[in-house]
């Protein structure tokens, strides 16, 4: 079978995945594990015990210097001035028209030192955008290739990471981080994640990431720790209605209709996209990103039309079976008039409308540390 001659990038854990017998797939230009034992089993392991994810493909940019704050206030939508050293926040890069370039997390490492984590498939686009806005007093570096990233997620995550770390990880609050060693490797221990479970994301030197991965899986073995692929990462985040860039949000979506208005802070002052988003807010939202569950038995998928009164009124952006809720669930854009909980909609599946209804989200109660 012929394959296009594209060279897929590999994370520092690629060889480890192959040894574990993972099924590898191309994802955003990377050769990534989609599953090891099976998506549903891995999903349940994260909800019930702990799972380790290779997310080293994600990008990291560092910003240093006296104008870092000014730059980040201008290019991101959240209020960076409110971010304390040791704290993380979720934020967005937007174009002038309010369209979303990417979603991201921003770390304040020191007074004039920040780290931005971006989606793997957007690294080049984001870096070009960031670079075009740099002033002279900001030293920005794309450290994506030298940085490994392991997410450890689930109710046993604190026990697992705590047992290998030289700092008290129990004292790290949600969306906070500390520098410390894990399995003897220095890095950033961040209490964040993309699953709705308690857990950590460990930023590590790429060359030593595999050492930490092996130790995590070995140390956690008796406690239910398993490697988890991108397949379960997707079902876990879907049950939380966490947006996935490229599926639920993109350059054609604005943060307000996507339900991300909570990270848009016009009160902080000028930023790119502010005027457009203030206009959207004033005019009212035409559509909204909502969660729905299927009433009739069918699986909604990305790109399927959302119907109301027999005509197409919106689009499914993500959909699957939710293993923890044991329902067929999805998220998509609907007109504001249909965004209320219990609104009756239909999803067009293979040419037929299948009944669905708008539900409260997250679909599954998050158990992150508060």
């Amino acid at each position: 079978m012929t394959q296009p001659e594209t060279v897929l990038k590999r994370t520092p854990l690629h060889a480890a995945h192959v040894r574990l017998g993972a099924r590898m797939i191309p994802f955003g230009g990377w050769d990534m594990p989609v599953q090891y034992s099976g998506i549903v089993e891995e999903h349940r392991a994260v909800r019930g015990a702990v799972g380790c994810f290779d997310v080293s493909h994600m990008g990291e940019f560092e910003f240093r210097g006296p104008d870092s704050l000014r730059l980040l206030q201008r290019i991101t939508t959240n209020d960076v001035a409110a971010l304390q050293v040791g704290q993380v926040h979720y934020s967005l890069l937007c174009y002038e028209d309010g369209g979303i370039i990417d979603d991201l997390t921003l770390y304040r490492l020191a007074d004039d030192h920040y780290m931005m984590t971006v989606n793997a498939s957007n690294i080049d686009k984001d870096w070009a955008w960031v670079s075009s806005h740099l002033g002279s007093r900001v030293d920005a570096r794309n450290v994506s290739e030298e940085t490994g990233l392991i997410a450890v997620q689930g109710p046993h995550a604190e026990r697992l990471v705590g047992g290998l770390a030289d700092v008290d990880v129990g004292a790290i609050g949600y969306y906070h981080f500390r520098r410390g060693q894990v399995a003897g490797v220095p890095g950033i221990i961040s209490r964040t994640g993309y699953t709705g479970e308690d857990g950590f994301e460990l930023y590590l030197p790429a060359a030593r990431t595999e050492q930490v991965w092996e130790r995590l899986l070995a140390a956690g073995k008796g406690d239910g720790a398993v490697p988890v692929g991108l397949g379960a990462r997707d079902t876990l985040r879907l049950e939380m209605k966490y947006a996935l860039y490229g599926n639920d949000i993109d350059e054609t979506a604005n943060p307000l209709e996507a339900g991300l208005g909570w990270v848009v802070k016009p009160a902080k002052g000028e930023f790119i996209g502010r005027t457009a988003l203030e206009g959207v807010r004033a005019a009212g939202l035409r559509r909204r990103l909502v969660g729905f569950e299927m009433v009739e038995r069918a699986v909604a998928r990305h790109g399927y039309p959302i119907l109301h009164g027999g005509s197409s009124v919106g689009i499914v952006t993500s959909g699957s079976y939710g293993p923890s809720v044991d329902r067929y669930i999805g998220i998509g854009y609907v007109p504001t008039a249909l965004a209320a909980v219990d609104s009756a909609i239909a999803i067009e599946v293979r040419g037929r409308g299948q009944a669905a209804r708008v539900v409260k989200t997250p679909f599954y109660p998050p158990r992150v540390k508060r």
Binding site: Q35, G38, I39, V40, V299, S320, Y328, R350
Partner: protein, 131 residues
């Protein structure tokens, strides 16, 4: 159980057929269920529907993928595995047993000659089928 039982006949689309007199029981192979991963939804025809050899008769969906089902043989559907609506994972756990899909009353039993033996199917998987 053998990965590809010798008493079954196989299609290039990874369905199996078990001849039961003038009827054939139909399912998907071990290879197909393994490639799909966790099956979460199966859409099957109603009893009485006509199916045609190598035409689609339903859909199987895993967490990640939607896949058409192809009829190994032509005829009328006389049984449908209703258990799969509630327990689609049976297709993964027991693809040749409780994970069967439909039973067809054959209209052209001679079509079975066009299907592969287990040995031919395994050979096929090693070459063209192993995508």
């Amino acid at each position: 159980m053998a990965t590809y039982p010798a008493e079954l006949r196989y299609t290039r689309e990874h369905e199996w057929a078990k001849m039961e007199g003038k009827r054939a029981r139909v399912g998907i192979t071990h290879y197909a269920q393994d490639q799909l991963g966790d099956v979460v939804f199966v859409e099957l025809p109603k009893v009485g529907a006509r199916v045609t050899q190598m035409q689609t008769f339903g859909v199987v969906e895993s967490v990640k993928a939607v896949s058409d089902l192809f009829a190994p043989l032509s005829g009328a559907v006389v049984e449908v595995n209703q258990e799969l609506a509630q327990q689609p994972e049976r297709v993964n756990r027991d693809p040749y047993g409780t994970g069967w899909l439909i039973v067809i009353e054959l209209s052209h039993p001679a079509e079975a000659e066009k299907l592969m033996s287990a040995q031919q199917y395994e050979e096929f998987l090693k070459t063209a089928g192993g995508h």
